[in-house]
């Protein structure tokens, strides 16, 4: 015999009511876990996306720096172009470790997605692109035969979507250009998987952007040079320098309103769950007034009664925490599906990352709430006078 058994048996007395209360706590915990998982997942996915760009600084034509950075990350039309001479000027800077020029063009293809239409992202690059992104390897085929060959290397997903293999010819929609597939990159888990790469000069020719670039990715020898490097380019006409660390922060700010809203929902859910628990236990205490009086008559101290009622609350919250975690784990896919459609920019990796730390933290949070929520009903029960309780309702 122990307080836990007495509490458990009492919760089973009103099974439906107890189940609903546990479900309320579980829902609140699931929301909390998903929110914390989203925070962790989004940060990790964004970091991974940005890190896999391979450079710390991006030079683009003047415009909204964050729009440009997001387009580079996610892909999309509307990137402005700048003169290629910028690239040549920067390449002479001895603070630069590596750099790569890019010309990104997005072309609409009405045949994409089984005739539903969609965009293809094309990128003109030099070999230095692979030096900055050493994790990108050729799965099959070779690098371009020359700097202006009519050849294309596709990202892994792009090759699957276009159903092409080495040696096939593929058309660039609208331009009328025909390119030979000479290579397919291995899956990288980034936007690179969806891109069609071609030599920089070829891209400039096909898209009529001779001598133009949409961006230059730069990796410095020393991170401490970043500020002075940015300041050096500050007065260059028509260009801007974007630090990808700032981009990360800005994208986080972009979704901060969504996070604030979901945090409010989580907090409200938790508060409602706590009130639900307090209400359930108070009702239970009220219904058991005579039993509590009897317990006191047969020797229970105020603390004994407090302990029994408190244990019931903790049991509800332990079960709620447990099932809430399970619910959150099971619902991860659905939560990710919904979030991807709600937020302005979703990185490539998993958006909801449920770590053991988050699950344990949420479970402990639920138990702590149980400890807090149980105090008032337990004190009410503890303060009951035995003789009045026993005669209650007579």
């Amino acid at each position: 015999m122990n307080a836990c058994l007495v509490g458990w048996k009492n919760l089973r007395r009103k099974k439906i009511r107890s189940a609903f209360t546990v479900a309320g706590v579980a829902m609140a915990v699931a929301v909390l876990v998903s929110l914390l998982g989203f925070d962790a997942g989004y940060q990790s996915a964004l970091n991974s996306d940005v890190d896999k760009m391979g450079y710390q600084l991006l030079v683009t034509a003047k415009g909204c720096p964050y729009e440009a950075a997001t387009l580079m990350l996610k892909g999309g039309g509307g990137l402005r172009s700048m003169e290629q001479s910028v690239y040549e000027k920067i390449s002479g800077d001895n603070r630069v470790d590596m750099l790569t020029p890019q010309l990104v063009t997005v072309v609409y293809d009405k045949q994409k997605n089984d005739g539903q239409g969609g965009f293809w992202m094309h990128m003109g690059i030099l070999r230095s692109y692979l030096e900055l992104k050493p994790w990108i390897k050729l799965d099959s085929g070779n690098w371009f035969s020359s700097e202006d060959s009519d050849e294309v290397i596709t990202g892994y997903q792009a090759a699957e979507a276009r159903k092409v293999k080495i040696g096939d010819e593929t058309f660039v929609p609208l331009s009328g250009a025909k390119l030979k597939v000479v290579g397919i990159f291995r899956r990288a888990g980034t936007e690179d998987d969806k891109i069609l790469f071609m030599p920089l000069k070829t891209a400039q020719r096909i898209f009529k952007q001779q001598g133009k670039l949409t961006g230059v990715g730069i990796k410095l020898k020393q991170l401490s040079d970043m500020v002075s490097f940015e300041e050096g380019l500050y007065n260059e006409p028509g260009i801007q320098v974007i630090s990808l660390a700032q981009v990360k922060g800005t994208i986080f700010n972009l979704i901060s309103s969504a996070r604030a809203m979901t945090s409010s929902v989580a907090i409200i859910a938790v508060i409602i769950a706590v009130f639900g628990v307090v209400n359930t236990i108070l009702m239970s205490v009220f219904e058991r007034t005579r039993e509590i009086g009897v317990m006191k008559a047969i020797g229970a101290s105020g603390f004994d009664v407090f302990r029994i009622i408190w244990t019931e609350t903790i049991l509800i919250c332990v079960l709620g925490g447990f099932f809430g975690n399970i619910l959150a784990v099971l619902a991860t896919g659905a939560v990710e599906f919904v979030i991807r459609r709600l937020i302005p920019y979703a990185p490539s990796g998993p958006l909801v990352l449920l770590t053991p730390k988050i699950l344990i933290l949420s479970f402990c949070g639920a138990v702590s709430l149980g400890l807090a929520a149980g105090v008032y009903p337990a004190l009410k029960a503890c303060a009951m006078k035995p003789v009045e309780s026993i005669r209650w309702g007579e």
Binding site: M1, R13, E291, V294, A297, I298, G299, A300, P386, I390
Partner: protein, 229 residues
């Protein structure tokens, strides 16, 4: 002469109601010695239950002096009363008042648990003693009235009390079951030397006690004044 377990001097229990003051117990003097078998008899509203409550440390006296087991509890707070009850005083109620979610065995174990004891064997032997060896794992709703009262009695005895209080213990039982329960009480008193104080309406059972205290309007009166017989 036995040891005095209860010594009440001019004790009163007054309830302040919005419209009136009710004296449920009004200036009673009473001494109960170890091993006594005392019945409180009187009509409804005579103060039997209230007197049992204050003597059993469930309630406090409004005035007067009350010593139970040598401790002055006239002005004791709930904490001290709880300590007095624990391990010293057993209760049996008219409505049985078993914990409905616990089995017969668990109801007895709960009583032991509150006294810091874990002794399933003792709980079982007590149920066997009251003839319920086949009802260990039955919930109260699965027991008859007589069986429930036997469980309640076993629960009261689990802590080996020095005093056993019973408020109308046969009130909800038929004559046969009532007599059986009363026989167990008498046996506990005669053979075990347990001090038992009970209240009853039943003149036949009440008269079998060693001493009868007649009550009327909260006062202790003579048999003739009680108008019971």
């Amino acid at each position: 002469m036995g040891k005095i377990l209860i010594n009440a001097r001019k004790i009163s229990r007054v309830y302040q109601m919005p419209a009136e003051v009710i004296k449920a117990v009004d200036g009673i003097d009473l001494q109960i010695q170890e091993g006594e078998f005392v019945s409180f008899m009187g009509p409804s509203g005579s103060g039997k239950t209230t007197l049992l409550d204050v003597l059993g440390c469930l309630d406090r006296v409004s005035s007067g002096q009350l010593e139970v087991l040598g401790e002055d509890i006239s002005t004791a707070k709930e904490g001290k009363l709880a300590r007095m009850r624990r391990g010293n005083i057993g209760f049996v109620f008219q409505d049985f008042l078993l914990i409905s979610t616990l089995t017969a065995l668990e109801n007895i174990e709960l009583s032991l648990f509150f006294c810091g004891l874990k002794d399933r064997q003792k709980a079982k032997s007590l149920l066997e003693k009251v003839g319920l060896e086949k009802r260990f794992h039955h919930l109260p709703r699965e027991l008859s009235g007589g069986e429930k009262q036997r469980v309640a009695l076993a629960r009261a005895l689990a802590i080996s009390p020095k005093l056993l209080f019973a408020d109308e213990p046969t009130g909800n039982l038929d004559a046969k079951n009532g007599q059986e329960i009363f026989d167990i009480f008498r046996e506990l008193n005669k053979r075990g030397g347990l001090t038992i104080i009970f209240s009853t309406h039943n003149a036949k059972l009440g008269s079998q006690a060693g001493r009868i205290v007649y009550l009327k309007d909260g006062k202790s009166v003579s048999r003739q004044e009680s108008n019971l017989f």
